[in-house]
Amino acid sequence: MPSPYGPRPEAGPPGLTAKLLGFCEELRGEGVAVGTSEILDAFAALEQVRWTSREDFREALAATIAKSQEDRRLFELLFERWFFRSAEAEAIERGIDERDRRYEGGDRLDLDELREQVRQAIVEGDDGEMRDLARLAISAFGRQGEGSGVVGVDVQRIRRTLGLSAGQQPPAEDGAGELPPIDREQLNAFERHLRRELERDLIERTATLPPSRPLAELDRALPTSPTQDLAAVHRAVSQMKRRLATLGHEQRGRRRGRTVDVRRTMRASLETGGVPLRLRYRPKRPRRPEIYVLCDVSTSVTSASVFFLSVLHALHDSFRKLRSFVFIERISEVTEVFEHERDFRAIAQRISSEGGVADVSGYTDYGRVWLEFLAEISDELDPRSTVIVLGDARTNGREPHAEVFAQIAERAGRLFWLNPEPKLYWNYGDSVMAAYERHCDGAFECWTTRHLESFVNVVAGGAPASD
């Protein structure tokens, strides 16, 4: 199709198509939903920008492929890696080795001088300068004997030798006055350069690319910013919704008879001279909520509670019949908060300010929570209801009241426990998971969306997602 805006910029180098498709494949592997239409858009967009400008190239790709903040983050991580690897693979293929040239001048370098220059570059945030200095630093250290062979170790070793640390700097030894503080971000940038150069060095030495690993869980992990991961949690929960919707159907139907409303029957009988010919029934009560979620928000689960709250948020989005409670020492119903607020952050704030659960000690008291929970809703629990507990089962040495928990489990149709700790830690210290686990229909470790998906799978009768 001829463009209405004049001639197109020249097409990219051959092989770009294949590279891009490979990149999209990699993105898919990390869970970014890249559809065919996105890929087509990406190609259309690339025809409009100069592919020689790295910035434009990346932004054009990002605008058409990464469609949320979360996707965008993964995109940046992978973009760097993919094109670095591609370039290195190409270099190996063509037999390019510039090791000898790259570190020219490294042996003439004075360590103190280098240290000063690195510090300067980091404070100023000069990216190009940092990369050059990273190379020099590596070569200066290469002189003092070979590295450990493990990139991460070498990076830290070089950083320590250069005496770099984030934050306020200790006063200089020669009394030259106070050094400007080093920004953590900038220091990280320098470390990234070091890592990259060391990797490049390694690749050139061995003439092979190390195997590509999936992104570390830490890089893409959850709770740092809840809004970013809400999407994934919502996806898992909407799956769960479909699965749970088909549960307990067999028990429905006309099993429950209607009850006669005596008062209205009597009143109606006035028409027939006091003879109750027509029976009046009580209106059917509106269906009760079917899911109860109990969420621990105490300090021992701080790191996971943001995740839990986002799970709650997603549950509320999907289920109308849901009542949720948060607890520390006692429970407090927060169904209303979720119903009235749509914004996740507002919810988190309101819960912490009006939850009113932290009472005196701030320590979780599971036993008391079960007692209160049972007292509040015991007659509403029936075989149709599902209870989900989100908590670490750490009672702080208080009475666990497992028998009350058993009662709850008995009345409710199903009871699941999601524990934010790895299974390894269960029952260590004050964790009484074993006492509760016996009564659960299932207990799962759960602190990432993967675990959540796995839980959903099990609920649906499938196999847990493999790790």
């Binding site: 805006y5 858009d41 967009a45 605008a63 058409t64």
Partner: protein, 293 residues
């Protein structure tokens, strides 16, 4: 606005008072070249809506705005039959046959055009702004799909109305809920965040040119410091500009603790936030203005 290159778009936007960063300019450029809608997400007050307005000014197009809210439906967004007028027509033409009347009352004359319809039917190219799309329900999003991918609307009684000119479509979202995949797939995605110090300074200086540079820098530094706190409502760019203008009116020469406390309410608007900011930032301002390089 010429759309020959990204730089041209950027300059055109700057000329109408919108300093776009590289991604924003690029996406605006691509949107016009590829004729695709732009989906802009980001925190409140980073200039998402302003981008659409600037695009309309820069390209000399009319801006048609659809403000979304919960419960917005087709009748408010697309079109509605003007049934009062239809009734009048039926009453007035008493002796016409039913088929005449029927054909007559379902034509463009009796159609009330709502924003989306206006944008499609307009003979001049327009900029269509669909603001805060995340406030509507998913059903509404689904309705938009036909419009966004094919730039056309199907009206059962009339048939298909296709756009004669390509509108620039900008959708904004505050990210309060996840939009559907289908909608996202049809759009170019742009994440706008609070600007970097230098760029925000440029923006403030553009809108309050009389403000001395040192003071502008100080102001932006303070605003960014305030944003770094965990506030209910962090100050937006518009509020930095307001604050700059306020300082001009006050004739302030430096932002010291006193000036700050007097004018703080311009950028911080929650009672709890005010207390937090006064405690954390106000105190720091007691130190004298650091000499700037």
């Amino acid at each position: 606005m010429a759309v020959g290159s990204v730089t041209e778009v950027k300059e055109a936007l700057a000329k109408v008072g919108y300093l776009a960063d590289e991604p924003a300019a690029l996406v605006s450029f691509l949107a016009q070249r590829l004729e695709k809608p732009i989906l802009v997400e980001g925190p409140a007050g980073v200039g998402k809506t302003e981008l659409a307005k600037a695009l309309s000014r820069a390209s000399d197009r009319e801006l048609i705005r659809l403000q979304c809210y919960e419960g917005l439906d087709e009748a408010k967004a697309l079109y509605e039959w003007n049934y009062r007028k239809q009734l009048l027509r039926i009453q007035a033409g008493g002796e016409d046959g039913w088929s005449d009347v029927h054909d007559d009352i379902f034509n463009a004359e009796f159609l009330l055009e709502r924003p989306l319809m206006q944008a499609i039917a307009s003979p001049e190219p327009v900029v269509l702004l669909i603001d805060e799309i995340d406030k509507t329900d998913q059903e509404f999003e689904a309705m938009l799909l036909e419009l966004l991918s094919d730039f056309q609307i199907t009206i059962p009684e009339l048939g298909r109305v296709a756009a004669t000119t390509m509108p620039i479509v900008v959708l904004t979202s505050n990210n309060s809920r996840e939009l559907t995949e289908a909608l996202k797939r049809r759009c170019l995605y742009l994440w706008l965040d609070y600007p970097e110090l230098e760029r925000e300074m440029e923006i403030v200086r553009l809108h309050a040119p009389e403000l001395p540079e040192a003071l502008a820098r100080r102001l932006v530094e303070v605003v960014q410091m305030v944003r770094a706190l965990d506030l209910k409502k962090p100050p937006s760019i518009a509020e930095s500009i307001d604050w700059a203008r306020t300082l001009l009116l006050m004739g302030a020469e430096d932002i010291d603790q006193e000036t700050f406390e007097q004018s703080m309410s311009i950028i911080v608007k929650h009672r709890t936030d005010i207390e937090l900011v006064a405690e954390r930032v106000g105190v720091k301002l007691a130190e004298p203005l650091r000499p700037q390089a």
